[in-house]
Symmetry: C2
């Protein structure tokens, strides 16, 4: 039943209008795992350097997280530095040091090859396929991607899309990938490329999920204080995939519920720098925010036919 995530771990230096954090734990695998652990145990497959600090490691020290699949390679850990715009809707990357991540060749330990719920975080689509080939009987597979791969490895990405059941992608990337300016049309075009389900992340506007017979829009949970948007997408992925894998069956209703848990987990992340918002999450608060999303989007049309002339 557990989940495997293959992705990055790194040290982020982040500046937002709310402040600055230096060399804090980051990377898609960290955000995903800290969100998904509320639903199922998570095994991380990633690489760090010999300089990976004890403080960062301690944040992943949790009974529900299996960190034995993290490779400690000779060299420095992946680093990223970025600064967000005043409204935090855009960011500029000041520095990317791939370091040991550049030679990342994910090898699943034998005991993880029988796990059936796989999140392929945003890494080279060639590596995503190589991971899939190592899994004996994948059941739920969710892949993420980004503009860099869409632009530089499009053919490889298209090969990967033929093999994954679900794609997670943000709105702008979905348009880039398909050339369709309307997001819901871009989603439909992605379904032609292989995935049965596509989940489009829309930041402050929430997310939507589309499959053959489902079109579900989920608003974002309105946080009081936006501190750092880094990792919101991977935290959404953790909440979404964690809830879906835990519910077990991919039904229309479960996909809707999973998206709600996705926006809820993302809402915690953006309230603190790095993973600090996620580390504070309590079970009761997850449920409270999910109920709030329900109230935000609920309505009824009973008897409204009569209001039309």
């Amino acid at each position: 039943m557990a989940i495997v995530v293959v992705g990055s771990l790194g040290l982020d230096t982040i500046e937002t209008p709310a402040g600055r954090a230096e060399e804090v734990l980051g990377g898609s695998a960290a955000y995903f795992a800290l969100a998904a652990r509320h639903f199922l145990p998570v095994s991380l497959v990633a690489v760090v350097g010999t300089d990976f600090p004890q403080a960062a490691r301690a944040m992943l020290d949790h009974p529900d997280l299996d960190i034995e699949g993290i490779d400690h390679a000779e060299g420095r850990t992946f680093r990223w530095e970025g600064v967000y715009s005043k409204d935090m809707n855009s960011r500029e990357t000041l520095r990317t040091e791939l370091n040991v991540f550049e030679r990342f060749q994910p090898e699943l330990p034998d005991r993880l090859r029988t796990l059936r719920n796989i999140f392929l975080a945003n890494i080279d689509p060639v590596l995503q396929r190589s991971v899939l080939a190592q899994v004996r009987q994948p059941r739920l597979v969710l892949a993420d991607t980004m503009n860099f791969w869409i632009q530089t490895k499009r053919d490889e990405l298209l090969q990967t899309l033929k093999k994954v059941r679900m794609l997670l992608i943000n709105e702008e990337e979905a348009r880039d990938l398909t050339g369709e300016p309307l997001t819901h049309r871009a989603a439909r075009a992605i379904l032609e490329l292989g995935p049965e389900t596509v989940v489009i992340k829309q930041g402050e506007h929430g997310a939507f999920v589309q499959s053959a017979d489902l079109y579900f829009t989920c608003p974002a949970y309105p946080v009081d204080s936006l501190v750092d948007p880094t990792g919101a997408g991977d935290s959404f992925a953790g909440g979404f995939f964690g809830a879906l894998a835990r519910m077990g069956r991919v039904t229309e209703l479960n996909l809707r519920r999973a998206a709600v848990y996705g926006v809820v987990l993302a809402s915690f992340t953006v309230e603190g720098f790095g993973v600090t918002g996620l580390l504070r999450v309590e079970r009761e608060e997850i449920l409270r925010r999910a109920e709030a999303v329900l109230r935000m989007s609920r309505f009824s049309l009973d008897d409204t036919a009569r209001i039309l002339r």
Copy 2:
């Protein structure tokens, strides 16, 4: 029970990736009235020039539209010309000729001064107040505004906001007006300025409605074909205000339903150039799309507490 709209009528020349339309009926009052008439009769208060063509007038010729309040002034009709970007998310104004609209001093005929549902479309906030002063017992008042007034007549706009019960504004304008980068925080800040309810238009992302005890997000209806976004906001206003005025009581549930009818009416508008999409609307299709919006946003959390560890 009827509605009065005070706004613009004009001739628009529009270029979008889907084609071009020249000198077609436009203006906030036209879009609003053609949308709101599905719920209640609408009286238009506006000005056109002596060159206002018969073809444009014919589009407003409908038993539910009262066009006697349209002033025919000496001179040319208001004209606007614009071209939309490839994804239609932005547009460039090529030409604005105010013509007779420049001297628009709305005077409500006596018989309209007793009407109680007033939509103050996007005009000078000074004129909006002058209209309000002419209405004997306003009940429901919805005002629209835009960046131009926020930037050039901010103090006048703030005076107007103290007198209107509801404000309709788009997302970017809400941020401009309040300086709050998060839309829901901008909405809350607007409630401090006077209105009891604020409705934020979010284009492809729908709309949301906020009041003291309500925070409702409504997705947009996903149109198959986006032809011309001009007038979508005023059509939303027509659907929203028409439905709300017809339902009569401003309750939490009615505000939610009204927003749904808003996005539905806007969806017809964007499917054709100018008002042509709105002219084709059939009652059954309004209901069908409202039901579709319900299915798009519906979910339940029953039994999901057990999926959390």
